[in-house]
């Protein structure tokens, strides 16, 4: 099987099969990112298609300085910005209060620490209900596994804004969790 680098080089020379393999490989991640932002399956599919068509057109300019998927995320987020003009403003308005590194807690806690699967499901629901700007940042950080620097570059935002956004998203999740814990106490 060809490596991604080989597929990209072949696609840059106009090989359709190589590009189809790249589409097959990356479509799920691009679709997920679009879905988290536009919250509509058909619109997300439409954006995903458009992303790959634009990627094909711009592929000769892709120099391989960043990862191919990061490049695709940049295209899809630009399309999302066009679709939701307020999204860029809401990201810029986050400010950059959090400049230091955000410590990421060790998630390898023993299974018994989870009260039940219910907690996890509740948190999934809370993630789903986050504001679009937070959801975009969270998706890029945790589902696409980009570094803070890569997210800043992809969204064309200052690093501090990215850190602030992710910090605040986690604070919102913490509030939701506290709310759940309070409801347990009252019951």
């Amino acid at each position: 099987m060809d490596s991604e680098q080989t597929l990209i080089q072949r696609a840059q020379k106009g090989n359709h099969d190589a590009f189809a393999a790249l589409v097959e490989e990356h479509q799920r991640y691009v679709y997920n990112l679009a879905l988290r932002v536009v919250k509509d399956e058909n619109e997300a599919l439409d954006l995903t298609q458009e992303t790959f068509v634009r990627a094909w057109t711009a592929l000769p300019n892709f120099r391989g300085q960043s990862q191919f998927r990061t490049w695709l995320y940049r295209i899809v987020t630009n399309l999302c910005y066009n679709r939701l003009p307020n999204l860029r403003r809401s990201l810029n308005d986050l400010g950059d209060d959090v400049m230091e590194d955000i410590s990421e807690a060790d998630s390898n806690i023993p299974a018994q620490e989870f009260e039940s699967n219910e907690t996890r499901k509740y948190l999934y629901q809370a993630i789903e209900e986050l504001d679009t700007n937070y959801k975009l940042l969270i998706t890029l950080r945790y589902q696409s596994e980009l570094s803070y620097e890569e997210i800043a570059s992809t969204l064309n935002l200052p690093l501090g804004t990215v850190k602030t956004g992710i910090f605040r998203a986690k604070e919102q999740l913490r509030k939701s969790l506290a709310h759940l814990e309070e409801s347990w106490i009252t019951v």
């Binding site: 790959f52 592929l59 807690a105």
Partner: protein, 124 residues
């Protein structure tokens, strides 16, 4: 375990295990059919050729006109040009540097976005 640490761990776990939504259907066929219809734009388009031809024709016309004007007329144009320049220097000293800065601003506006785009593409 401290409650806040436990909350952090639960949140981190939920974020890391948050499932990817399944694709309702593959889009590869649709993308490939759209790609086959839309060929990639060439690096140099027809409009670039036409624009280049028009600019070259204008330069050639100016050069041809300058070569074929009577020498006396050329000398008069040169004298009028020098007089106009001197007039600017005496009555509007600011005009020549202002015009130069304006020209530089126009050229920058034309070239800087392209250079930035090239830099961003290279960074990618």
């Amino acid at each position: 375990m401290d409650n806040r640490l436990k909350q952090d761990a639960l949140i981190e776990d939920a974020l890391k295990s948050y499932p990817l939504a399944p694709m309702p259907r593959t889009i590869t066929v649709n993308v490939m059919s759209r790609i086959q219809k839309n060929t990639r734009p060439a690096l140099v388009t027809w409009s670039d050729f036409v624009l280049g031809f028009v600019i070259a024709a204008c330069i050639a016309a100016l050069w041809f006109a300058a070569q074929n004007l009577p020498p006396i007329l050329l000398a008069k144009i040169r004298i009028q040009g020098i007089l106009l320049y001197q007039d600017f220097l005496v009555n509007a000293r600011w005009l020549v540097p202002a015009a130069m800065i304006g020209l530089a601003a126009v050229l920058s506006a034309l070239t800087i976005p392209t250079l930035l785009r090239m830099t961003v593409d290279r960074r990618r």
